[in-house]
Symmetry: C2
Subunit: 388 residues, 2 copies
């Protein structure tokens, strides 16, 4: 007796999102040695390997099995306190902390609480991996173009005036992924005015603040009552620990996120204590200036290489990892030719929701992961491939 | 202009599950010193603290920043290989591995792929934390009673005959949570026959196999084509690392789970390498016999204490952590009186979907977490409280 929902003897799986363009690009490498301008990972050369190793040992010696038990939903108290301290260091003002297994997990939990069947707006292009949970949950999304000043809030206003009523607006306002652009203060204020007028909440995804020299004032700091802030320790400590957080004024959100976290229970207890100690000791704060100049230098090295090799940037970011570049031919062709010569980046088409014909000639290049001295030769390979 | 879905100026959050009865019970303690028969955690006294510390150091020294980058969705290849080895050690036969951030996360991902709006059956009582993801996703669940032989498959058959058509049947067949019962071989075979006749898949949640002296042959081993197996390293290494896995013959499931894992991206890279090394070195396999006799001894100590203090067990489990006990008055009253005397356990009513009047007099006692020598005095406190 076949199950009524079985399909030709197969289980009737719902379709998960396709692999992200980043995962797609990295999968093409097949383990070959390449210069990697595709990954959004921080620079492995500044990973605090020894400090994590030492701190892990200290925590296990001091807390013993306490650091190895099940995590409490929403985070262990010491880490919640440390993250409040960290957010005050980042000048975000006060808020309530819910600990998550990275920022992506935070966005997934928020979308489960708020977005089932509801509308949301977002930058176009947008960080697709960040967007997957929102897309899976919402019935309709409202893409808003990005220019050199960040999300085009005038276009958002037009959409709102013509009747679109998003419950959330998802944004990476600082060091936007994939454009690299940091939203101007004027735009930030306009966005918050619109939030008041049209009664929506902004989901501020802000992983690059601690590695940017000029991050701009955070939307949360400007209007904590209109913003749910998502932070990450991935760029400033390490993505491999999977520790992120939600920061908000909303006591109800904190309580509901904690209860929802029981449904996956995914945040490593040991890693929570490690991150807590690295904040409390001042270690993380102590490396912020180094990271900010490190990544600024690498991004400027990429800018100079792009200019020197005659490649066109879509904007002129000064912070973060990413630059969006346009070619005179499809970026997929440039990708294939570059890959044959050992260089990988991300064709940008899949970051776009509209205008994808133009987008098919764009590429996201990251200066975050590669060695600084590899950037110039890699850009030269890409420029050569674009001229073939 | 108020958002049409806003409720009195509050965000229209969907309601997450309430705190589980275990979290509820532990929250009553407020940091006071207690003997804890409530937690489902493994015994902290057998946590491999030094081995985790040493292995973490080794991994970071050898792999350096590779162990700290973003995880690949679905698990790093070395851990996938190690878990296949581990499953063969557990005599599960061959399968495909998807790594998850613990078993609970695995169940959540599976429910997202398979259960939106679809029916599933489960033991009644059931492990509510395990069930949360299923409940959130499905429109209807079919509770099946449990007796001393495990899930009552005759009752399941009646439900199926009368037209219930679950797509999945969720079961903890070995050392069931909360009853402690291990399903007999006859019942296992009957369940698998029903799966053939009525075309459903069994979701086998099996965290206790490696710590049970007589776990029974796994449903997956008996019929890999009818079973999705969920495993966990929590009881045999540590829950604090959050490493679990899905084991299945189904290549489509492996691919779709990996893609779905992008939506939360929550599994620590470092912890994956630590667990991989602890399996590859034979360390985990080498402690299985010790753990099996350790937990058997503690469970038998609890049995003897219960008998000696005149408390009634609902079944006679020989493995795992849990025993279900019945009182002649509401377990919540016994809980409160015991808590005042420094002993905590879990009132069992919330594990039940039906017959909750009888369930209100039941309690789940765990022998897993407390010290062996604390079990007898704790049971005496509970017995005294039950007679008050």
């Amino acid at each position: 007796m076949t199950h009524p929902e079985a399909k030709h003897g197969r289980l009737p799986y719902l379709e998960p999102p396709p692999y992200s363009p980043i995962e797609w690009a990295l999968a093409q490498v097949h383990g070959n040695a390449v210069i990697n301008l595709a990954s959004g990972s921080p620079d492995p050369r500044v990973a605090p390997i020894e400090e994590i190793s030492r701190t892990s040992r200290e925590i296990l010696r001091e807390l013993e099995a306490t650091a190895l038990m099940y995590p409490s939903p929403g985070g262990v108290e010491p880490l919640k306190r440390s993250i409040r301290r960290w957010c005050e260091y980042l000048q975000l003002g006060r808020g309530r902390v819910t600990v998550t297994s990275g920022a992506q997990h935070a966005i997934k939990l928020i979308s489960e609480l708020l977005l089932r069947g509801r509308k949301f707006a977002h930058e176009d292009p947008t960080f697709v991996e960040g967007m997957f949970p929102l897309l899976g949950a919402a019935s309709a999304n409202i893409p808003i173009p990005v220019d050199s000043m960040g999300m085009d809030t005038v276009r958002l206003e037009s959409a709102l005036r013509s009747g679109s009523r998003p419950l959330l607006v998802y944004s990476v306002p600082t060091c936007n992924n994939p454009t690299g652009v940091t939203m101007t203060l004027e735009r930030r204020k306009h966005l918050l005015e619109l939030a008041d007028t049209y009664d929506f909440t902004i989901l501020e995804d802000d992983p690059y603040r601690a590695v940017a020299l000029s991050p701009g004032i955070s939307l949360y700091k400007l209007r904590p009552d209109r913003v749910i802030y998502v932070g990450s320790m991935s760029k400033v400590i390490s993505p491999g620990l999977r520790i992120g957080f939600v920061y908000s004024k909303d006591e109800e959100l904190e309580g509901k996120l904690s209860r929802l976290a029981q449904t996956d229970f995914s945040t490593s207890t040991l890693n929570q204590y490690i991150v807590s100690r690295l904040i409390d000791s001042g270690f993380v704060q102590g490396r912020v200036n180094m990271l900010r100049t490190h990544y600024r230098r690498k991004l400027l090295a990429m800018r100079d290489s792009l200019e020197g090799n005659g490649l066109t940037r879509e904007a002129s970011p000064e912070d973060g990892f990413f630059t969006l570049v346009s070619f005179s031919k499809p970026s997929l062709e440039v990708f294939k030719a570059s890959l044959r010569r050992g260089v990988v980046f991300v064709p940008a088409e899949k970051f776009y929701y509209s205008n994808t014909k133009r987008a098919s000639r764009l590429a996201r290049l990251s200066a975050g992961y590669p060695k600084e001295e590899d950037i110039e030769p890699a850009v030269k390979v890409i420029a050569d491939s674009a001229r073939l």
